[in-house]
C-alpha cells in the first residue's frame, strides 16, 4: 500500500507542474531567440536618449566599421562553438596575419603598390589558414582539447607577432591601402563593413544550406552519432578550425586597410569579444545549436555598447568590465536553456 501511495504521489507531483513547465519551456525558447534583439534595441534607445548624436549617420559608419572587428572573428567562432569546440587563438592570429601582411607589403612596395598589397594579403591569409590547420590537426590527431590547443597557438601567434615586428608598429604601407579601407560601398557600408556583410551572408548560407553546415551541427550535437553515421568528423573539424583561422586573418588585413599601420597589439583580447558575441547570440557552448543571425545581434550589442560608452566619455577601462559581465550572463542563460531542453 505504501508503495502504491508513494508511486501515485510522485506521478502526481510530476504531472501537475508538467503542463505549465512545458509552456514556460516554449516561452523561454521564444524568449531565448529574441531577447538579444530586445536588449540591442534597449541599448540603442538608452544611448540615443543620453546622447542624440549616437543615432547619427557618421556614428552608423563608426559603429558598423568597429563592429567588423568583433563580427568577423565571431563568424568563425560560431562554426567552432557549434561543433562544441572553442578557438581562443583568433585574436592573436588576427594580429599575426596583419603583421605578416604589413611586412610583406612594405618589403614588396618597390615592385609596385598593387602587387605588394595582393602579395601581402595572400601572405596574411596563408598565415591564418596555416594556424587554423595547425589547430585542427592537433585537436583531431593528438586529441588535445580545443581550449588547450588554441590557448597554445594563441601564445605562439602572439609571440611571433612581436618577434616579426620587433615590438613596434609597421609603417610606410602603400598609400592606396587607406584609399581602399576608407572607401564607401553602396552608400551605406565602409569597405570593411561591406566585406564583412559578404562573409556573413556566405557563412549563413553555408551553415544552413550545405552538407558541410549540416555536419557542423551534427558533430557538435553528438560526435559519436556523426561518426557512426559515417561522417568524417575529423576532416570536418579541421575544415572548421581552418575557416576560423582564415577569417581571423581576413579581419587582421581589413584592419590594416583602415589604419594603414600594422600594430603588434592588434587583436589582443579580441577573442573575448568574439566569444561573447557568439554566446550572446544564442550559440550553445555545449554544441549543436547556434545561428549566424544570432551572432550578428551579439556582435552588434557588444559594439554598440563599446562605442556608446566611448561617446558618453566613460573611461575605456570599463569596456572590458562590461563585456566580462555580459559574457558571464550569456553563458549562464545558455546553461539554463540547456538544462531546460
Amino acid at each position: 500500500m505504501d508503495n502504491i501511495d508513494g508511486r501515485v504521489q510522485t506521478e502526481d507531483s510530476q504531472n501537475v507542474p508538467a503542463a505549465p513547465r512545458a509552456k514556460s519551456r516554449a516561452w523561454l525558447k521564444r524568449l531565448g531567440d529574441f531577447w538579444t534583439l530586445g536588449i540591442l534595441v534597449i541599448i540603442l534607445a538608452v544611448f540615443g536618449i543620453l546622447q542624440p548624436s549616437f543615432l547619427s549617420v557618421s556614428n552608423w559608419f563608426n559603429t558598423t566599421t568597429y563592429m567588423t572587428e568583433t563580427l568577423l572573428l565571431a563568424i568563425g567562432e560560431t562554426y567552432v562553438i557549434i561543433t562544441a569546440g572553442i578557438d581562443l587563438s583568433v585574436g592573436a592570429v588576427e594580429g599575426l596575419a596583419g603583421i605578416v601582411a604589413a611586412l610583406v607589403m612594405v618589403a614588396l612596395e618597390p615592385h609596385g603598390a598593387t602587387f605588394a598589397m595582393i602579395a601581402g594579403t595572400l601572405a596574411g591569409m596563408l598565415t591564418g589558414v596555416l594556424f587554423g590547420l595547425l589547430n585542427g590537426l592537433v585537436i583531431t590527431a593528438m586529441k588535445v582539447t580545443p581550449f588547450i590547443v588554441t590557448l597554445g597557438t594563441m601564445g605562439i601567434a602572439t609571440g611571433l607577432t612581436f618577434i616579426l615586428s620587433g615590438g613596434t608598429d609597421v609603417v610606410n604601407l602603400p598609400n592606396q591601402l587607406s584609399n581602399i579601407g576608407n572607401a564607401t560601398v553602396l552608400g551605406v557600408f565602409s569597405f570593411p563593413t561591406f566585406v564583412t556583410v559578404l562573409c556573413l551572408i556566405a557563412a549563413g548560407i553555408i551553415l544552413y544550406q550545405t552538407r558541410f553546415g549540416r555536419y557542423v551541427y551534427a558533430i557538435g550535437s553528438n560526435a559519436e552519432a556523426a561518426r557512426r553515421a559515417g561522417i568524417p568528423v575529423n576532416r570536418n573539424l579541421i575544415k572548421v578550425y581552418t575557416l576560423s583561422g582564415a577569417i581571423a586573418a581576413l579581419s587582421g588585413i581589413l584592419l590594416l586597410t583602415r589604419f594603414a599601420t600594422g600594430s603588434p597589439l592588434t587583436g589582443t583580447n579580441d577573442e573575448l569579444n568574439a566569444i561573447a558575441a557568439v554566446v550572446i547570440g544564442g550559440t550553445s557552448l555545449f554544441g549543436g545549436r547556434g545561428t549566424i543571425v544570432g551572432t550578428l545581434i551579439g556582435a552588434a550589442i557588444i559594439s554598440v555598447l563599446i562605442t556608446g560608452l566611448v561617446i558618453l566619455s566613460v573611461q575605456p577601462y570599463w569596456q572590458t568590465v562590461a563585456i566580462g559581465v555580459i559574457i558571464i550572463l550569456a553563458v549562464w542563460i545558455d546553461q539554463f536553456r540547456h538544462r531546460m531542453a
Binding site: F212, N222, A225, A229, G230, A341
Partner: protein
C-alpha cells in the same frame, strides 16, 4: 530459400575471456528473429560482430551465400546491414529528417549540388513518406529530436535503420528504456518493417515481446547458440528452460537433427 545472412561457427575472445564459443545463425527474407539469452550470454557481442563493430576470431559471415568481412560498421552498412544501437545514435539538436538522412544527405542537382547544397525538400518528402508507410506518428518531419518522447526517438532510429537496411535490421533491446505503451508502438513498428520484407534481428529480455513479433526464437547460453525454435511451436516455459540451462540434453539431439 537462401538465408539473407548466415553466421557459421562464430567465436570471439576478449583477451582470454571467451565471450562467444560457437554460434550458428541464419535469417531468411522477411523474417523476424528474436535473440534471447541470460545476461552475459553473448547477445551484444554477437550483434557487434554482425554490425562490424568487433571482429570475430573464428567463423564466417555470409550475405546471400557469399562470404563477407566487415572491417567497420560503415562496411556492414554498405552491405545493407543496419543496427539500432542501444544508446540511441541520434543527434538531438537536429530534426527528424536530418537524423534519418545523417551521413546520406541528398544534394540538389546541378552546380548547387556540386557545391554541397542540400535538397531539404526532397529529404523531407521522403521521410514523410517513410513515416507514413511505417505508420509512425510524429507531428512534423522538421521536429527537433530532443523534443521527442523516448518512444518517438526510438522510432526515428528504427525508421532510419529500416530506410537503409536492405538485408537486415538489427535492434539491441529497442524497448529497454520504454514504458508499456511506447514498447507496444515499437513492436508495431517492427511488424511494419517486417511487412516491407526487411528481416529483423531483435535482442530482448522481454519474452512476451519476442513471442509477439518473432517468427523464430534463437537462444544463446554461455556463448553458444543452444536452441532455434519456431515461435508458434514453442512456449514461454520451454524458452525459459533453454535460457536458464535446465533444458540442455535436447541440444545434442537437435543439432544432430539439423545435420541429419
Amino acid at each position: 530459400m537462401e538465408p539473407v545472412l548466415q553466421a557459421k561457427g562464430i567465436q570471439k575472445y576478449y583477451g582470454s575471456v571467451c565471450a562467444i564459443e560457437h554460434i550458428d545463425f541464419e535469417i531468411y527474407p522477411g523474417e523476424v528473429v528474436a535473440l534471447l539469452g541470460d545476461n552475459g550470454a553473448g547477445k551484444s557481442t554477437f550483434i557487434k560482430i554482425l554490425s562490424g563493430v568487433v571482429k570475430q576470431n573464428h567463423g564466417q559471415i555470409l550475405i546471400d551465400g557469399k562470404p563477407v568481412q566487415f572491417a567497420s560498421p560503415m562496411e556492414a552498412r554498405r552491405f545493407g546491414v543496419e543496427t539500432v544501437y542501444q544508446d540511441l545514435a541520434l543527434a538531438p539538436d537536429l530534426d527528424v529528417t536530418a537524423n534519418i538522412f545523417l551521413g546520406r544527405e541528398i544534394l540538389r542537382g546541378g552546380l548547387l549540388g556540386r557545391l554541397g547544397f542540400l535538397d531539404k525538400r526532397e529529404m523531407r518528402g521522403q521521410v514523410a513518406g517513410r513515416l507514413d508507410q511505417l505508420k509512425v506518428s510524429i507531428k512534423s518531419v522538421a521536429q527537433i529530436v530532443s523534443e521527442l518522447s523516448g518512444g518517438q526517438r526510438q522510432a526515428v532510429s528504427i525508421v532510419r535503420a529500416a530506410s537503409w537496411g536492405r538485408k537486415l535490421v538489427i535492434m539491441d533491446e529497442p524497448t529497454a528504456a520504454l514504458g508499456v505503451e511506447e514498447s507496444a508502438k515499437v513492436l508495431d513498428l517492427i511488424k511494419q518493417v517486417k511487412a516491407r520484407g526487411i528481416p529483423v534481428l531483435l535482442v530482448t529480455h522481454t519474452l512476451p515481446y519476442a513471442f509477439d513479433v518473432a517468427d523464430r526464437i534463437v537462444v544463446l547460453r554461455l556463448g553458444r547458440s543452444v536452441a532455434d525454435l519456431r515461435a508458434d511451436a514453442t512456449d514461454t516455459n520451454e524458452v525459459v528452460q533453454w535460457i536458464t540451462g535446465s533444458k540442455t540434453v535436447d541440444r545434442i539431439a537437435e543439432l544432430q537433427g539439423h545435420r541429419g
